[in-house]
Symmetry: C2
Subunit: 331 residues, 2 copies
């Protein structure tokens, strides 16, 4: 295992120490060592919180910052943060206006957020939630509540963070973030597995010369294993999963996010994006804004995800708002 | 080879098409399909140009933008751009105030830039150059002119771009960029090789359980192959190569840049940075600003580079200036 680490049991804490030092202009530590908070949160706003397992950088702490999330709870690698961490994230983000907890649909996160919401209520803090479920491949369309949250979460945080920064009240922030994820669909293609530092060998297999369509960020099985295709064929396959599911139609304006899974060279993401944009344009779907890069990863997995979000006037304004976090900076 | 591509012969052009579409708020195409230029270059400033082979994203086109480079020439994967591309980059960046061409010390780049400077002179454009040579491991200290340019180039572009944006004349921009690279030292540790798309297999080898200290971005041999070490041991090894070479001493203020080589999980870069910062602090060296992430990569190589730059008042002001490019955004 060719990796940069000390004792794998300490990797999350050591990562957080380095992260907090490197980005001391954006984030700061809190009493709970597994909660990162934004520096200089503007007074009187609704708090925006997220959290999730480690190994998905920039997610989740990389999206704490100006006009983004106010705090994030940090879990072990590929494991949910504790309920206590979610609670403490809510506490540091709360300013008496309530907290929007925007997270992904995984059983551990669901359970721990639910407990944190109850504990927060007892502490006098109102927490409302949006659960991201943008991953088309993880369940049929009539069972959207079973779908996982993947890179679409980044757009949900962007929208929710911007709405709160603009002075939206708790219900307005929740409504905007919910609309963002309701308007968003994603799919991933995995080319290689990843290795958890504490395990030392891949916890699933993708055979050389094959690819797994619909793979999850933790190697959850996809919808099809097929022979490795060209970039253009992969683009078509991804567009063909994502577009009809929402469905995105002629005349729609969208945000497109192409994220690497960690180890795929970034130049290849641009090759993929070029064809995705061509296919969407051919369908009369107009890309208002594109994000291409490593936005939501799985350690050193190879592969990519495609995320498409349908815009309306409100979402466009919120997406276009400046933001400043480690993982997403825009003027 | 688990990669996202079509015909490997077209990968650079396809990447550029996707890059230009995705970042149309920052960059635009030019008549020369292998030259990318910044959008909305402020009038009357000295031009700042770079260029290099592909496969090192964000380098080189990712550092074209506001207060950064005005144009970049693009080569094939791991190959220098042509002299014509360097010339055309100078032409689109020139506003009659001259052009600073800031590039890395590789034989192909040296030859092609030299030709481009001559051709530019004939066309009435004054081009002066700074050649980055920050890679300590690539030649002894008394032969600095033989050393390669690596991730220190990012700091050279940041400083040169800022100086030009502040209205510096050509000699002042060249002097600032030269000082930036003179004050900068880097070293890399490679953990896995990379595979050029057109070749299909790694063009060099790093055995499992070993690491190569001082490796170059194209797999150029380093100074030592040794058994794989812990993150803290790697940090010490890197600091012990970089610090005594300049030398950085107690009381110095520095910029630290830790870049992944492509496929190393970003969380591991923070683990490495945490220990690097501790070692520098122990030596009385103060980090004014840190950059941690994938700033200068080699396709899907695993490993990392450490770059340290000594600051003075001028360099600090230029490093702190806002910038907006795909690879480096700061408020």
């Amino acid at each position: 295992m060719q990796r940069i680490m000390n004792n794998p049991d300490n990797i999350v804490d050591e990562m957080l120490k380095g992260f907090l030092k490197a980005h001391s202009d954006i984030v700061e530590s809190t009493e709970n060592g597994r909660v990162v908070k934004a520096k200089d949160i503007p007074e009187g706003k609704v708090g925006v919180v997220t959290g999730g397992g480690s190994g998905h950088k920039p997610a989740f702490v990389g999206y704490v910052g100006k006009n983004m999330c106010d705090a994030a709870a940090v879990g072990e690698i590929c494991s949910s943060p504790t309920a206590a961490a979610f609670l403490d994230a809510c506490k540091v983000a709360d300013q008496g206006k309530g907290v929007a907890c925007l997270y992904g649909n995984y059983s551990g996160d669901n359970m721990n957020v639910k407990m944190a919401v109850k504990m927060a209520k007892k502490a006098g803090i109102t927490v409302k939630t949006v659960v991201a479920n943008d991953d088309v491949a993880s369940a049929p369309k009539d069972q959207r509540e079973k779908r996982r949250g993947v890179a679409g979460e980044v757009l949900m945080w962007k929208v929710g963070g911007a709405k709160a920064a603009k002075g939206g009240d708790l219900d307005e922030v929740i409504a905007a973030a919910q609309k963002a994820i309701d308007n968003t669909r994603s799919v991933g293609i995995g080319l290689t597995p990843c290795t958890l530092p504490a395990v030392g060998h891949p916890n699933f297999e993708i055979k050389e010369g094959t690819m797994e369509v619909g793979i999850g960020h933790h190697g959850e099985p996809g919808i099809e294993v097929c022979p490795l295709e060209s970039a253009n064929e992969m683009a078509k396959r991804m567009v063909d999963v994502v577009v009809p599911d929402y469905p995105f139609v002629e005349g729609d304006e969208v945000v497109v996010l192409v994220s690497g899974l960690g180890a795929t060279p970034v130049m290849e993401l641009y090759v993929l994006y070029d064809e995705i944009d061509r296919l969407l344009t051919e369908k009369g779907i107009k890309t208002h804004k594109a994000y291409v890069g490593n936005y939501f990863t799985s350690l050193e997995m190879m592969g990519a995800t495609l995320t498409v979000m349908k815009l309306d006037d409100e979402l466009k304004e919120l997406i276009d708002m400046p933001a400043y976090s480690m993982g997403l900076k825009q003027d």
